[in-house]
Amino acid sequence: MRRFVQPPAARESVSARRSLAYRVAACSLPMVLILLGGWSGAPSISGQGQTPPASAPGPSPRAVLDQYCVTCHSDAAKTGGLTLARLDPEHPVDGETWEKVIKKLRAGLMPPSAARRPDRATLEGLRRTIETSIDSAAAAKPDPGATTLHRLNRNEYANVIRDLLALDVETATMLPPDDSTEGFDNIADVLGTSPALIERYVGAAGKISRLAVGNTDLGPLSVTYKVRGDLSQDRHIEGLPVGTRGGIVIRHNFPVDGEYLFKFSLLKVNFGPQYGGAAKDEQLELSVNGERVKLIDLRSVPYYYIRGGGAGGGPAVPLEVRLPIKAGPQTVAVTFVKKSAAYVDDLFQRFDATTADLQTGVQFGYTTVPHLSGVEILGPYNITGPGETPSRARIFVCRPASAQGSGAAGSADRAAADETACARTILSTLARRAFRRPVTAADLAPLLSFYRTGRQGGDFDAGIEMGLRRILTDPNFVFRFERDPANLPAGTPYRLSDVEIASRLSFFLWSSIPDEELLRTAEQGALKDPAVLERQVRRMLGDPRSRALVSNFAGQWLFLRELRNRNPDVLVYPNFDDNLRQAFQRETELLFDSVVHEDRSVFDLMNADYTFVNERLAKHYGIPNVYGSDFRRVAVADQARRGLLGQGSMLTVTSAPNRTSPVTRGAWILENLLGTPPPLPPPNVPAFPEKKTGQGVAEEALSVRDKMVQHRTNQPCLGCHQIMDPIGLALENFDGVGHWRTAESGVRIDASGKLVDGTPVDGAESLRRALLNYPDAFVQTMTEKLLMYGVGRVAHYYDMPAVRAITREAARHDYRFSSLVLAIVKSDPFQMRTASGAAPPAASATNR
């Protein structure tokens, strides 16, 4: 989970240092007033209404550097590979180096605690000077950078198919995973191609075209929906009927009208022992679109997991159902009828995780109930027709007379002409959306040629299917071409065309193609008008498709996608289950979603006095009076729980399976919230002493903190751990799955410490306030990541002036999410591109 992009920073040595006197002074630059907003740590971070600081001329930036920095960062010492001895902060040439300096200052990480440190205002003044000089130089000579040719990634591909063809497809099985860099999988540089990828694109195009058109020449297919083995199924699950427990809701696309076979499997093993034999009178229910279609009595199955078992004389019960189903997406729910709302009177107290148990599964005195482990949908069998699906409605914007069954359409020639005209309409409509621009005759020619091939071998629909298949493999579909205007010298920045910007917008905000309105607006050339652009952005943010920002941007920035790979040790956290894992993810998603869709300040991510919980999560957090599986907004009274720092998602994803990892937490916060990733540890680091468990071995009565102190007595470790550890240790009241605790191994938790800038912290609340004391670090880090994600390329040092300009602009609007997005969309890196000059003449050079 570590991703460190900066070269090793200085290894600071340690000692106590005097605390900081936070005094606003010595800044005469006007923009400082805006940037310093929120510095006081007030809950509402605002750039407006700040009183200007008393201006007193402070020491010159050079003098500050000489006095406080050059001791270590001299030509001779070059601590951390950096010398500041001869760089001029007022006329910075080496932007790359200075941006590193800025990041350290921005988060208050330099000078280190052992060194002498000027007051906050002096340091901020130094940073402003450097920033201002870099920013004005950049304004005079903008460098918007250039993005490599983008290819649709797997998530985008799925969204595009959804928006183009009204078809939900599971791309995880169709396309190989994408590489990612800098934490995002939409960065053009690593979205290369390979034969395997092309093969899968071609395969996916064939499958999707068949599904979308409703090809009835279709063998049975099988799709399995797995239920995670660690999902507790003794309670109600959101989205399933009331009065049920466990199970799964599926939105399944049935390709054609026909019969389908549903097979159910029950959890058999849970790390070994058999599971699910004790409870009586269990029933499994299948419903389609909310209507029960089958109730399977499990009583006659001696062990539920034995399909068709029938031992003991009972009749065999095949756990499968065959049903006629209409084509199109349908909601399939498989669940158990809940037999009793009363507490089960067992000899053993159960854990929240019903499958956590390792030994007691079928023991006396412990009631277990069957758990669903998967639903397989096979079919179609006995196909009766293509049916009427949303996809067909979307594709067939016209029908030729011949296909409407009217024999009286006229001569065969006329019928053929009629068909061709309709095919042209259908394919050009699809191609315009798929290629995200007006289509040309050259675009259309191969599509129509494939249409004719398909039509010759089958009916009109078969022709359209072939044309669609050709669209979905077209390089104009797979790649997002942005072409330099002719004869522009290399290095010249230019504004992208409206149509290109429309694609950038839709892939940024929706991870998908532009819709009709956006495309039309772009084709009319209206996106150049800032008011029109703003209107479109606001409309797009309000559209449900903008949830892609939550799943793709927040999902990667905040490591939510990593959660599913985390498996806390069942012996240490017997109450952790998939229900909780899902709840963690949902909570953070909903928080981010509220910032996006209620257009809140992005500082609410750190500070919000509300969150979203269901019963399971509320219980985990100790929030009373929340019942049921549905999520709702609740006020967070507990200061320690507020914002990301108190959320189970972040706390779990930064923990080891069997304990907390303050180092990982500290490193995660430094990298993802403050933008200053620590370097990787050197080798030969002695391992963290684990807690000994098991019979006959005495447990060490050492807290994680004590062990860390032992661990970092190593001198080389100290420099960085000095920065990371106090941050992570302040969160020690949250265990490895984010549960509140006051003691570990019988020892009281000590969450106190001193941050590298000298700020004393004790617990999550004070840490949050201390971090927010550097608001620029947070908001600029988020902006940099959002810009990187939005443009789909790695952010470089020369993008930092744009990042600062974006945050300055957002500050004027209380850092509302829309203001951040709008400022990004209007920024040079988004709107512009640096011409790479004329491409060399065509060569057959390959990278083989």
């Binding site: 190989p176 397989e376 080891a656 060399p840």
Partner: protein
């Protein structure tokens, strides 16, 4: 006479997924490809490399005795029943994985395993890997030149300027093109056997795919005009990829044109198993089928990725894989880590057992295979890159004696072994990676 030995059973049971798979399709392929082979009795050598990150507890891995009289250590014990086919190779190092920029040891391990070259920081570049060089020579007449398999999903765990590609694959087609690893058995199955309910459908679709690719290739050439240089390079690569797929499709169509057998529909395994053991066995089942039918002769498989937090409770060690490898050199905890090593070797033994039980030409698949298994680390606690835990299985069609513990001189580069392994399958190079010579196998 030999041909009769090559007949596959009509139904092969795909364990794990509980899927019964009819194989006449494969039979026909086998029947067809005998035409392509040098002789029916001399199938090509299958070449496989299996990677495990994080090293091993070497005291429980390395046999004490050298040569034929070596003993099976605790970790290697699951392989004892294949003694004749086992070559343990000791004392090799991947020295160029070590050195400056020390924090990135894990970032470099997978990429160096088969390349013998140091992955470049802040770039995506390492050497071409040995599997790909071999594939170029021995697997070009097969439908798939090579198969890249893995258990874990690609993730975002990348470090210190080393891109994710270094973690996610051990196969590099060119110095800058990593081959993505497939971890879905269903996808692997389709790759091996095609998409479609009936053979006619499958073949028709392949023909259609070919004409689509043909049309796209023409169009893409014209698209290149006016593209920025970097984009143009990418489009060039895309064109190469298209040609490669066209070639593969042609191979399959040609083979089927030569076959008179009716083909039937194998069921694909469904979904991706949650449990490691079920997953890895299913992958081995598929790989065995791929080898058996000579759909490919070259493969790589990653048990896990570096820094993997996976846990293997069935090994007896409940801890995370990476965490357990940092055992502080405390004996008790090194023993705990060895449990995971042994469990992984058990999975390997499952595969070797399948190869040994599958007739192939004049012997078994194992006779005609050369499977390298090991890690780019030895003691994972301090990120040592030698002496590495390595073992080779199979007789490589008579080229590899087996039943030996080969002890190289200390600090011998692992690249020497890779160079010699290439030799054994008829790919003769003077040097490879950081090799200093060849290793007598």
């Amino acid at each position: 006479m030999y041909l009769t030995k090559k007949h596959l059973s009509r139904r092969t049971f795909l364990r794990g997924a509980g899927v019964t798979m009819a194989l006449p399709f494969l039979e026909s392929m086998v029947g067809a490809q005998t035409v392509l082979r040098k002789t029916a009795a001399m199938p090509g050598t299958r070449f496989g490399c299996i990677y495990v990150p994080h090293g091993a507890t070497m005291s429980k891995w390395t046999p004490a005795a050298e040569g034929k009289a070596f003993e099976f250590t605790d970790t290697l014990a699951p392989l004892e029943k294949f003694r004749e086919h086992v070559s343990v190779v000791s004392n090799l190092v991947h020295a160029s994985a070590t050195g400056a920029d020390a924090g990135a040891e894990h970032a470099r391990s997978a990429a160096i395993f088969l390349s013998g070259g140091r992955p470049q920081k802040n770039a995506v570049r390492v050497g071409v890997t040995v599997d790909q060089i071999v594939a170029e020579h021995i697997s070009q007449d097969t439908p798939l030149p090579s198969l890249e398999l893995g258990i874990e999903e690609a993730s975002l765990s990348c470090g210190a300027g080393y891109g994710c590609a270094y973690f996610n694959t051990i196969a590099w087609r060119t110095p800058t093109v990593p081959l993505p690893v497939e971890n879905s058995p269903q996808a692997v199955f389709e790759k091996l056997f095609g998409d479609g309910g009936t053979t006619e459908q499958r073949l028709r679709r392949k023909r259609e795919d070919r004409s689509i690719l043909d049309s796209i290739r023409e169009q893409t050439v014209s698209l290149q005009r006016g593209l920025p240089a970097t984009d143009r390079m990418r489009v060039d690569g895309y064109l190469d990829d298209i040609r490669e797929i066209e070639r593969r499709i042609k191979t399959v169509l040609d083979r089927n044109a030569q076959s008179a057998d009716p083909l039937s529909v194998p069921d694909a395994p469904v979904g991706t198993p949650e449990a490691f053991e079920e997953h890895v066995k299913l992958m081995f089942d598929l790989l065995t089928l791929a080898y058996q039918s000579e759909t490919t002769r070259v493969s790589t498989l990653m048990f896990a990725k570096d820094l993997s937090p996976a846990s293997y409770p069935l090994s007896g060690n409940r801890g995370g894989f990476h965490g357990s490898s940092h055992h502080a050199n405390v004996k008790e905890r090194m023993d705990q880590f060895a449990l995971i090593n042994k469990y992984h070797v058990q999975m390997l033994a499952y595969f070797i057992g399948k190869l040994a039980a599958t007739p192939d030409g004049d012997g078994t698949l194992l006779d005609h295979s050369m499977i390298l298994y090991g890690s780019s680390m030895s003691n994972g606690n301090q990120h040592d890159h030698g002496p590495l835990p390595l073992v080779i299985l199979g007789h490589a069609s008579g080229q590899l004696a087996g039943n030996r513990h080969i002890v190289a001189a200390p600090q011998t580069p692992m690249s020497n072994l890779l160079l010699s392994m290439m030799d054994k399958v008829g790919v003769h190079q003077e040097s490879f990676g950081d090799s200093t010579g060849k290793l007598e196998l």
